[in-house]
Symmetry: C2
Subunit: 238 residues, 2 copies
């Protein structure tokens, strides 16, 4: 299965792959709204907030804006989504609470058990667009046993820009072919594969909620395909 690769590290996409961002953001928005007496369709607010994520990063990927941390992009996008849904203008402690909702996302049920097994054989590291503080606080709360935090801020580039992957591998002094990118998103895996990384596609059919069907994987495109991190650990002999 892994012929041609000498995998030493597994690099993980985080939002959607390790943690269930949608349920977490709906929960955090809902709790805030209840305290403030604000009623909204929080699932739609969450989806619109997440929807602003790619265009915000695209301005940086394309060179139209210097690198800034994802916390700041989340804050700017919060402003926009609040305006769009008529939620007022959260400021001070409220704004901080909502922006750091992205730090308080729950892992999928298999994430911690799977990562713990995978860590026995490989360096395991997030290769996320999340900033270091976000990923560190998330890991602390969710008990994600990362060996090291990599990704956008370390590489100063947002995935799927090649530098995000190359900078992460380089930080741990590995070649791309010594890394396996693990993600629930095929565009993320495609970008990693083009650079020579092995790939593991992990199915997270509920990432976008009950109404969104995930496109099935293209057979044979990825080094591994697994239904969970525990299944991936089985496949990789951990």
């Amino acid at each position: 299965m892994t012929a041609g690769y000498d995998t030493k590290a597994l690099l993980f996409d985080v939002f959607g792959t390790v943690v269930d961002w949608r349920s977490g953001i709906i929960r955090e928005l809902g709790a805030w709204g209840e305290e403030r007496g604000i009623v909204a369709e929080w699932d739609k607010v969450a989806d619109v907030w997440r929807g602003l994520y790619q265009p915000a990063m695209q301005r940086i990927r394309s060179g139209n804006r210097g690198f800034v941390r994802l916390d700041l992009l989340h804050e700017e996008n919060l402003h926009e989504v609040c305006h769009q849904f008529g939620l007022g203008e959260p400021s001070g402690a409220d704004r901080h609470r909502l922006v750091t909702a992205w730090h308080r996302l729950d892992p999928w049920p298999d994430s911690v058990a799977g990562l713990t097994r995978l860590k026995s054989k490989f360096i395991i590291a997030p290769c996320s667009n999340g900033n270091i503080a976000l990923i560190t606080n998330m890991a602390k709360r969710a008990e994600l046993p990362w060996d090291v935090v990599l990704g956008a801020e370390v590489a100063q580039a947002y995935k799927p820009h090649p530098q995000a992957y190359l900078g992460s591998a380089d930080a741990i002094d590995l070649k791309p072919e010594e890394c396996m990118m693990v993600a629930a998103h095929q565009d993320d895996l495609e970008a990693a594969a083009e650079l020579g990384m092995a790939t593991a596609y992990v199915l997270r059919p509920n990432e976008f909620g009950p109404d969104v069907k995930i496109q099935p994987t293209r057979d044979g495109a990825w080094t591994q395909v697994a239904g969970s991190f525990v299944e991936l650990a089985d496949q990789l002999g951990c």
Copy 2:
């Protein structure tokens, strides 16, 4: 004891404070020498190699050289120390083995137990001059349970340059006064204290071997003084 501070993260010096670099380097050099039939006073070789560390970083701190990783400085200094002791010119796999000896250092006996307790209450992170790969490989081998790897490479500056501390705190989105620097070296603590960090002086009397006596601490200069990480965990209520 910690009046005036709101400590959320403990930042650790690594070489000498968390791991016993001297014994480890003597062991690694000796094993290599034995295989190659090279005889030398390996304790002296280790001390000279370590002695070249500060001047090499000083060229970067002073702005006379751009930032490079500690692995590269160790490699350059190895060249010099081998020349000085007539050890030949290790190349290829030998050079890689010796340079990465700094990745294979053992923790002091209390390090893992103490860090594990401290982690229950604080973010624990190396704030080391070691590069990310070095610190990650060391942690993996020694089972050091860091939450996140910080330090020179993240901040692009070598301690005791202020940016090394400020950049590390900023990466986890904390103010200096929310961090406590933990070190066996008073110059490291002095630099952190000047920036507003709390400080913990941990005594490592054997760091430099049996012939070197460590200068005693100045009473009252540090927020905490402890004989081990376990004692520090007691003091901090972990």
